[in-house]
């Protein structure tokens, strides 16, 4: 789909590099690419206009013009400005007089009910005692959904039939005192910001008791309308921040910047998976990279960490070091990698996927992994533990069992041998051999300097 901004700027600058110095006009042309990248990321049109106007003076400053890597210099300027505008990390404010009341509002389908349960889970894991309040009395089975999620999260859910949402809220505050709950999380019905009646209901809810946090839940896939929605909600009640959901998709999330710019509301939490633990504090630098389509190295690392079983990993490492790495271990490792998601998608998280890397991406074949796994699974345990016993007859059986050919089986065995050899070299070899040579295609300074 869209090329990353990094790549586009590199292309734009490469012919210029040959003729020597860059001119201001060259940089202005590059800023047009920045503008398109932001529009593709669904940043609001007017916010984009303002943003580009703001970064222009700095981008045509001498640092960029004289830089040896102007593409990177422009990106750094743009990225830094973006991080600045996205604001810092904003923790959820806890009241000095418990319970802290958190109200979640938003459009239908933004992910309020799930976010409510995730928030409850998040606090529950920190040793707090949240109470969930099911105040969405309209959507069929919304209460039931929260009830089930609450059960999964180990958090009580309050609901009474035939009550208005504001009454439910009042009663819930009483229940919170009974249960000694220190956090009350209210899930409200999804509503359109143009729906007078339902917006009035929100006002009645906050009139009962002013929440400590009133969070607008926004889907990361939201387009230009995000600004209108956020403005309408914040004109009706005092919002204190945003929760951005569905960031586990590949939406670039430009809405985060738009809303932040227009309303000044900080982004507090982000939803990063369907699982109940998939809620994290917002990190502006990661969001900036994402909006610019520059990949998300931290995301990659975290995804690896989340899906890898740490004990399995270190166990494998130890075996590799002692040269006891068997085909059984190979299978374990393979399954770990598979858990992280399809390879082609993982590669999207790598910044600077330019030139040769891009070609490589086309060749990545997730099916190849499936075949390897099939071959390994068709071996007996004894064969996996002692690969040297695999003779021609066994190879034929394995091929039949896995729906592959003897050549495929040979290839798997060969790659296993190569891996063992590499491990031996790394263990015993010279220092210089430890790391594979630098990856081609990556710009030398693709990461911003540590702040």
């Amino acid at each position: 789909m869209f090329e990353s901004l990094t790549e586009r700027l590199q292309q734009a600058f490469s012919p210029l590099r040959k003729k020597g110095r860059l001119s201001e006009n060259d940089v202005r042309a590059a800023l047009r690419d920045v503008r398109m990248a932001l529009l593709e990321a669904d940043v609001n049109f007017r916010v984009v206009r303002k943003f580009v106007a703001e970064v222009e003076p700095e981008a045509i400053g001498s640092e960029v013009l004289e830089s040896l890597t102007p593409a990177q210099a422009v990106i750094r300027v743009v990225r830094d400005h973006l991080v600045l505008l996205l604001g810092g990390e904003a923790p959820i404010h806890l009241s000095s007089e418990p319970p802290t009341v958190i109200l979640l509002v938003g459009l239908q389908g933004a992910g309020k009910t799930t976010a409510a349960a995730k928030l409850a889970r998040w606090f529950h894991r920190q040793g707090r005692h949240p109470l969930l309040v099911a105040a969405d009395i309209y959507r069929p089975a919304a209460v039931e959904q929260l009830r089930q999620l609450g059960e999964q999260a180990g958090v009580p859910v309050f609901f009474e039939a035939d009550r208005r949402p504001e009454e439910l809220f009042r009663l819930a505050l009483g229940r919170a005192r009974q249960l000694a709950a220190d956090i009350v999380i209210v899930d409200t019905a999804g509503r359109l910001h143009v729906d007078e009646e339902l917006m009035g209901e929100l006002e009645r809810i906050v009139a009962v008791h002013k929440p400590d946090e009133a969070l607008l839940v926004v889907d990361a896939m939201t387009g230009q309308d995000a600004v209108t929605v956020a403005e309408s909600f914040s004109s009706r009640l005092a919002l204190s921040g945003l929760v951005m959901t569905k960031l586990d998709g590949d939406a670039r999330g430009g809405a985060a910047l738009s809303i932040r710019q227009v309303t000044g509301l900080p982004i507090k939490m982000v939803g990063v998976s369907e699982k109940l633990d998939g809620l994290e504090p917002f990190q502006p630098d990661r969001m900036a990279g994402r909006i610019l389509g520059m990949g998300d190295v931290l995301g990659l690392i975290e995804r690896a960490e989340a899906s890898m079983d740490a004990s399995v990993g270190s166990d494998l490492g130890a075996r590799l070091n002692r040269n006891e790495f068997t085909l059984d271990d190979y299978l374990t490792a393979l399954r770990q990698v598979k858990k992280m998601g399809p390879l082609s998608q993982l590669m999207d998280l790598i910044p600077g996927m330019g030139g040769q890397m891009k070609k490589l991406k086309g060749q990545v074949d997730d099916h190849a992994l499936v075949r390897v796994e099939a071959v390994l699974s068709s071996m007996t345990l004894r064969e996996r533990r002692r690969p040297q016993i695999i003779d021609g007859s066994r190879r034929r059986r394995i091929a039949r069992g896995s729906g592959t050919t003897v050549q495929d089986v040979n290839r798997v065995l060969k790659s296993y041998e190569d891996m063992r050899k590499l491990a031996r070299q790394m263990r015993g070899g010279k220092r210089g051999q430890r790391m594979p040579p630098g990856m081609p295609g990556l710009p030398p300074d693709f990461l911003p300097p540590p702040r």
Partner: protein, 326 residues
């Protein structure tokens, strides 16, 4: 019928008023650089996205140069025409089913797009057209999805096939098709769990549902509808591509048009992938699902009354927007 149209206009009101105001400010100015800037802004704010916007601007530019419109109506007409050309003609009979029995329709989309509600509304709509409808609850993942669908089935008078949460969705779909045939249903609607298009295993699960349904009932699914939330931005194109690849999505239900979002991304989807919009959702009630009309869509994006035939909003003769479809 009048009530129907009323709802349609009420639903689109937010969109129209907001855009119309801005749009009218443009009219009457000479076709200057400023005009183009503002037109560009209108189109971007409707979520058409860079590719579609550039294309429309280019075409509009050519037309305006050639035809030199003299007044508001002429200018609007030109732009509308150019945009209409980018969309296929409306389905003349959206409530028609193909001759096989049962017809099997599969409904998919990302989380929160409005799949279950759309399935409920489709069921109600076809029930109102005297069809026997059976719903297969293949969303076995989301908490309380079964309950939500049960409410819709009861409301619409459709039959429901479901299994315990966590069951294999393909098995539910299979059961639904078998039951649909056994009970003589005209239409089997299969609701699936919301899934992000980036989750490969979940997308493969859709492929499995399609295969299982197709094996049991040749030609099925007869329609595979992708539900897209009108507030979705450019990610909608990626979604559509992935769902088309995984399950052959061949039509779109554009939901939540009763807010201020215009859902312009469907134009980009049409252009890049050729998947047309079939239905639009304008609210939470059973009647709030209408066949898509390109004239109305273009009208809403441009922020003007969708047709100029002189019919009043309440008293239109047929379905909204048919009057000006070319």
């Amino acid at each position: 019928m009048a009530g129907f149209l009323n709802r349609f206009w009420q639903g689109l009101r937010g969109t129209r008023e907001q855009m119309g105001q801005r749009w009218r400010q443009l009219i009457g100015r000479s076709v200057s650089a400023e005009f183009w800037d503002e037109l560009e802004e209108q189109l971007y704010l409707a979520d058409l996205g860079p590719e579609a916007v550039e294309r429309i601007l280019e075409r509009a530019h050519r037309r305006l140069q050639a035809d030199r419109p003299v007044d508001e109506a002429a200018l609007m007409g030109l732009l509308e025409e150019e945009m209409m050309r980018l969309l296929p003609e409306d389905d003349p009979d959206p409530w028609a089913l193909s001759p096989e029995r049962p017809n099997v329709w599969l409904v998919l989309g990302v989380n929160g797009a409005g799949k279950t509600t759309s399935v409920g509304k489709l069921a109600a709509g076809f029930r109102a057209h005297h069809r026997r409808v059976l719903i297969g609850a293949a969303d076995t993942f989301r908490a309380a999805a079964n309950e939500q669908l049960a409410v819709w089935a009861r409301r619409s008078g459709a039959e429901l096939v479901q299994q315990a949460p966590g069951a294999d969705p393909a098995a539910v779909a299979f059961d639904a098709v078998v039951a649909g045939r056994g009970r003589g249903a005209d239409l089997v609607l299969i609701d699936t769990a919301g899934r992000l298009h980036t989750k490969t295993p979940l997308m493969q699960e859709l492929g499995k549902i399609v295969r299982v349904v197709g094996r049991e009932c040749p030609g099925a699914p007869h329609r595979t509808l992708l539900v897209v939330d009108a507030t979705t931005g450019q990610n909608g194109v990626v979604q559509a591509r992935q769902f088309a690849e995984a399950a052959g999505a061949d039509g779109i239900i554009l939901t939540k048009l009763d807010g201020t979002a215009k859902g312009g991304v469907v134009l980009a989807i049409q252009q890049q992938l050729g998947i047309p919009v079939r239905w639009i959702g304008l609210g939470e009630r059973a009647e709030d699902l209408l066949p898509f009309s390109r004239a109305d869509f273009v009208g809403a994006v441009l922020g003007r009354e969708p047709w100029t035939g002189g019919e009043s909003q309440e008293g239109g003769p047929t379905r909204p927007g048919r009057g000006s479809a070319r």
